[in-house]
Amino acid sequence: MNMYQTMLRIRAFETKAAECFTKGMLAGNIHLCIGQEAVPTGACMALEPDDYMTSTHRGHGHCIAKGASLDKMLAELFGKETGYCKGKGGSMHIADVAGLHSLGANGIVGAGIPIAAGSALASKIYGDKHVTLCFFGDSASNQGTFHEAVNMAAAWKLPVVFLCENNNYGVSVNIHSVTNTDTIAVRAKAYDIPGKTVDGNDPVVVYEAVKKAVDYAREGNGPSIVECMTFRHQGHYCGDPANYRPASYMEEAHEKDAIPNMRKRLLENGVATEEELQAIEAAVQEELEAAYVFADTSAYPNPAEATTDVYSSDNERSVVR
């Protein structure tokens, strides 16, 4: 039930964000994770609340699954002062460092991977028991940072789980046209660490695989790669018609869509009644509408805020010259 609700919240958020973007209410670009909801939902459920996480440019789902407030997230997309980053980061940079231990999404593909490994290095130095979950996409696995960070994390047995969301496309390029291996997880062999490819359309399967990797990391055994096969329903960014994909991609995506499938499962197994599910759905819609009102009615940052937060000390002098 929790999983269903989380996936629903992610999809509702993304749907609302797309609607606002299409209406011209959002500046810049947004990257939607509609179709991929099961992955962050299952993965974040395998974490303790104070475990750490790094996210990606397609990161709204990660933040929601980690517990982010929809109000502050949508406000950040709107560029409002009430957003998570006071409107200074936007869609690709939502972070809640102290609260959710979310070290931030990243606009540079693959840049979060060493940051996650560094967070895990901090855990090793402190001797704490936190695990860092590192989300990255199939295409980020072809960045040098992937190799460098996974190699060091493996060599030093750092408590990090590298979670690949494999939606088969890096913008328009099919992963198999630029990669010789069938899976990304098979690369784990090169680092002598566990690697597993699982169905990313089933949050329970994702949860079980990630939980195993999280426990393994927390026990001091080092990193793992968990690859979750998933589908990106939309284009790379909102407005991309994605006509580089065969029709069969979306046919399969709809067939394996986690949300309707989970709904069916809950009803068939008697876990929830139709009324209960409808109540959850209505509550999510209500939460989204409230987030929308919050974001829409919040103020834009005072222009004078443009020059704050560059430095922690001596900010004014360092910004003036």
Binding site: I115, S119, I125, R317
Partner: protein, 326 residues
């Protein structure tokens, strides 16, 4: 009380004292552990502080700089070395896009208290990929602070402040200064970031400079003094934040300025300082500001070629005479 030690030893002392003071200070980089750094700066550190705090990294500059950012966001204070500042080209994203921008882009949530030590500079016949002075790249990037000390005392005091600073600080160290032995205080001290230092007083012209060129400027000032020209040598020590007050004070006194650095002249930080003075202190100036920098070329290997590529005392003397019309 004072003692005479090399600049590399002073840099080592700064890190050693800060590691003793704060268990969150760690060292990362190539050959920093077992070998104790290619310049011997961290010899014995790994035995003393252990492999968790003095980390021999693989040759993965982008990876370990990125890891330092992640660790710093968790409160660790990594002091990272790239063996040569030229290697920033393979670690540009973690430093210029991640470390520098993390605070701003998270609306002030994230703090990245790391130091990146960068041995730099020409004169060791290391050719174009091991000899550059890239101050401009770092000074250009909002979010980074930049220090470039010239003396043993400044190097130790500034590096200690840099390690304690909550912002990412780039520490530019000229390789040809490492062996230079100078007096420094016995007792513990720090030097705040953003404070320039008049290394020689004078009334006729201000020579603004930093790092190794400070010594060439002082040599030039000696020669000029013999000809009756009193040059003031202003060692910036910190490039960002810039000690503008010190520049104003000196220029208002001498009314003539040259800016000396080892950088490629085109687009240099020396050019930036020159522009700021021209914009804001025009009324104080008796003559246009002159830059004395390297050439707009790749740093060459052969000694006769390399020596053409950074300012020598005679180039500084010539520039001063040009500005003073003497």
């Amino acid at each position: 009380m004072s003692k005479k030690i090399s600049i590399s030893k002073a840099i080592g002392e700064a890190m050693h004292e800060e590691m003793l003071r704060d268990p969150n200070v760690i060292i990362m980089g190539e050959d920093m552990g077992k070998m104790g750094n290619v310049f011997g700066i961290t010899v014995g550190f790994q035995e003393e502080f252990g492999e968790n705090r003095v980390i021999d990294t693989p040759i993965s500059e982008s990876g370990f700089c990125g890891m330092a950012v992640g660790a710093a966001m968790r409160g660790i204070r990594p002091v990272v070395e790239l063996m040569y500042d030229d290697f920033i080209t393979v670690a540009a994203d973690p430093i210029l896009n991640q470390a520098a921008k993390m605070r701003y882009m998270t609306g002030g949530q994230a703090t990245v208290p790391m130091v990146l030590r960068l041995p730099m500079g020409a004169g060791r016949r290391n050719a174009g990929q091991h000899s550059q002075c890239l101050e401009n790249m770092f000074c250009h990037t909002p979010g980074l602070k930049v220090i470039a000390p010239s003396t043993a005392k400044d190097a130790k005091g500034l590096l200690k402040s840099a390690i304690r600073d909550d912002d990412p600080v780039i520490c530019m160290e000229h390789k040809l200064l490492y062996a230079k032995k100078e007096q420094i205080p016995e007792e513990e001290y720090t030097i705040p970031l953003g404070v320039a230092d008049v290394k020689r007083e004078g009334s006729d012209i201000t020579i603004i400079t930093w790092s190794r060129e400070v010594y060439f400027a002082l040599e030039a000032a000696e020669k000029l003094a013999a000809e009756g020209i009193q040059a003031e040598v202003l060692d910036l020590r910190t490039l960002v934040p810039l000690d503008w007050d010190a520049i104003v004070a000196s220029v208002s006194k001498t009314h003539n300025v040259i800016v000396v650095s080892e950088e490629v002249k085109r687009g240099s930080y020396a050019a930036e300082i020159s522009a700021q003075i021209a914009e804001e202190l025009f009324d104080e100036l008796d003559a246009p500001v002159e830059r004395v920098c390297g050439l707009n070329i790749v740093s060459p290997f052969s000694p006769t070629l390399e020596d053409e590529n950074f300012p020598h005392p005679e180039n500084i003397v010539a520039a001063v005479k040009k500005v003073l019309n003497r």
